[in-house]
Every structure is written in structure tokens, then in C-alpha cells.
């Protein structure tokens, strides 16, 4: 099986009880119509979804892995941003 000479698309599925679309994988397709059909055929075979988004992979702007220290390291020391320092009244229940 050869790799087709067609663009790559990222697939996002909103599941039955999910609130937002989640990235599930990628696929090859010649255009947006065929990408949606292929996403349906590849990623919703077991009743996973109620809505599909397909996005051209080259439309996604990604952070540079080399920047990870600058981007993400500074938050590690700011544990006070986690909500673990607050007392939650019993009446609130599960959060």
C-alpha cells in the first residue's frame, strides 16, 4: 500500500457526552469533503462521535519543542495556582 500524494488532515471528534471536540488522529485526503468522509470511516466506527471537525494539518501553528523551558518551566514553581489551597465547603459537593 503506497502513501497517497494527498494532504494530511487533523481530525477532531465531539463524543456523545463530551462538551468539546477532541483530537483523535490524522488522515490523508485530497480535499475537505473527502477528509470528512474518511474521518467518519476511520474514527467513528464504534459510535464515538456526534460531530467531526477536520483541519488541514498545515493550518495548525505549533509551539517549538525547543522553547519548552521558556514556555512551560516557569509555572512549575507557582503551585499556589492550583486550587488545592482552598477549603471547599461540603455543600459544594464534587468539583
Amino acid at each position: 500500500m503506497s502513501t497517497p500524494n494527498s494532504p494530511i488532515w487533523e481530525v477532531f471528534i465531539r463524543s456523545r457526552n463530551g462538551l468539546s471536540h477532541k483530537h483523535v488522529g490524522s488522515l490523508h485526503a485530497a480535499d475537505s469533503v473527502m477528509a470528512l468522509q474518511a474521518a467518519r470511516d476511520l474514527y467513528t466506527r464504534r459510535g464515538e462521535g456526534l460531530s467531526i471537525w477536520v483541519v488541514p494539518s498545515n493550518a495548525i501553528i505549533a509551539s517549538d519543542p525547543a522553547d519548552k523551558d521558556m514556555m512551560f518551566e516557569p509555572t512549575a514553581s507557582k503551585i499556589y495556582r492550583h486550587p488545592t489551597f482552598y477549603e471547599i465547603p461540603d455543600e459544594v459537593g464534587h468539583m
Binding site: M1, T3, L27, M34, Q37, A38, L42, R45
Partner: protein, 256 residues
């Protein structure tokens, strides 16, 4: 291993005709598994094949219930002789290349989608329920195959040459979809089924609109192959059955 001879009761035979169309086309699509031109289409062909085999199962089960002779869906699918299968010749034709498979699927789905939609009004509640499930599946088969017809037709010279050859090959097999005989007429008279000829105009309109998008020409020839509905199959069918029936013939009664 013995073969079964299903009842000649009209409703049983009617159900077997529709079930055989679905089973044989589903089997043809399953032959693509492992050979499709791209992974995405491998899954699409397999999914469509499974839809059709599922439709066949429902129809065989109901045929067995109506017949009342204790025949299971597997008995109908695997233990009949070649001449006892009543599918149209279109669905048993070998896959050929991808364009040929897509045109065959398009011609069948453009019929089956409106056919099952109309059959939801069947006076027989089981048939109406099978029709409701089948319609949704065939709507997708029609959409998917039509998009491929457009992309192959309005594309490179090589793709266009192949899709045009595929149209010439399968066009003479489309007439049988709309045919019916006295057996069908007796089922149609009860309100359990519709006359397939009433689907012809919608089928042709679908073919014309997709071919316009694909910059393809609808053939004008009216000579059509016939025979599948009375059990006279093309030479390819015996080879298909030898593959389809192999496991039940080799290991009788094998189950999952």
C-alpha cells in the same frame, strides 16, 4: 455437504432477492480488504461491505422466519447452489480497478437509497424496519461513491479513461435493478414492497446530476443484461461462491 432448497413462496423469494443483492455486493467489497489504494479507502470499502452484509443478515433472518422451515441466515448465505441465488448480475461482477468498484457502488447505491426510503412505507413492519436501517447506510454509500465519481471524472486523463471504461462496462447491468416479474408483482400487490421501476426516474436524475459534476456523459444504450433474478448468473459467480462458501463447506456448521 448438502445444499438447501428454499421455499418458492413469493415473500420468501422476494426477501432472498434483496438479501442476495446485499450479500454479494458486500462480499465483493470485502475482497478489497488488504488491497485498497489507500488506508482511508480500505476502511471505507470495508465499512460499506459490512453495512451490506448486515442488511443481508436481517433479510435472511426474516426470510427464514416467513419460510418456517428452520433455515438460518447462514443456511441461506452459504448452503445454496449457484442457481438458487437471485441477486442482480451487477453486484456479482468482479471488482476490476478502483474506478470500476466505485461506479458499480454508485449505480447500486443510487438505486438502493431511494428504494429503501420508499420501502419504509411497506405494509410489512419487519421490512419497513429493515428499510429504515438500510436507507441511512445507502445514503452514505451514495454520497461517498458519488464524490469519487466526480473526482475521477473531473481529474487526470488516466483517471478519466478508467472511469469512462468503468461506466461502459457496468451500464448494461443497471437495467436489471428496475425489473420485476410475477413473483415480485404478487408481493407488490400486498403492499409489502414497491415496484422497483418507480425508482427509475430518481435513479437517472441522480446519475445525470453526478455525471454533470464529473463532466461525464450518461450512456444512451438501452440493451441490458438480465438473468440474476431467475438464477442465471455470469461466469464469475461460481468463483465468487467457491470463496464465499468455502468455510461452511469445509467445516459444516462452523460458528464464531
Amino acid at each position: 455437504m448438502t445444499s438447501i432448497s428454499p421455499s418458492n413462496a413469493p415473500l420468501v423469494q422476494f426477501l432472498l432477492r434483496r438479501a442476495d443483492d446485499a450479500l454479494i455486493l458486500g462480499h465483493r467489497l470485502s475482497e478489497w480488504v488488504g488491497h485498497a489504494p489507500m488506508l482511508e479507502e480500505e476502511m471505507a470499502l470495508g465499512n460499506m461491505g459490512l453495512d451490506l452484509i448486515g442488511q443481508a443478515r436481517s433479510l435472511y433472518q426474516y426470510a427464514g422466519e416467513v419460510e418456517g422451515a428452520g433455515h438460518s441466515e447462514d443456511d441461506f448465505a452459504y448452503l445454496r447452489r449457484e442457481s438458487a441465488y437471485r441477486n442482480v448480475l451487477l453486484v456479482e461482477q468482479p471488482n476490476g480497478d478502483f474506478a470500476e468498484t466505485m461506479i458499480r457502488q454508485f449505480f447500486y447505491a443510487a438505486f438502493a437509497d431511494p428504494y429503501w426510503r420508499a420501502m419504509k412505507a411497506s405494509s410489512d413492519p419487519t421490512i419497513a424496519a429493515i428499510a429504515a436501517k438500510s436507507e441511512k447506510e445507502m445514503t452514505y454509500h451514495l454520497r461517498h461513491s458519488a464524490e469519487w465519481v466526480v473526482r475521477l471524472g473531473d481529474s487526470t486523463a488516466e483517471a478519466r479513461r478508467r472511469i469512462e471504461a468503468a461506466i461502459s462496462r457496468f451500464w448494461p447491468f443497471t437495467g436489471e435493478l428496475f425489473s420485476s416479474d410475477e413473483l415480485d408483482a404478487s408481493v407488490i400487490a400486498t403492499g409489502a414492497a414497491i415496484d422497483p421501476d418507480t425508482i427509475r426516474a430518481e435513479w437517472l436524475a441522480t446519475v445525470q446530476s453526478v455525471f454533470v459534476r464529473a463532466k461525464l456523459t450518461v450512456p444512451t444504450s438501452t440493451w441490458m443484461h438480465r438473468g440474476g433474478r431467475s438464477g442465471q448468473h455470469s461466469e464469475h459467480f461460481g468463483h465468487l461462491l467457491s470463496e464465499l462458501q468455502y468455510m461452511q463447506r469445509a467445516v459444516p456448521g462452523a460458528v464464531w
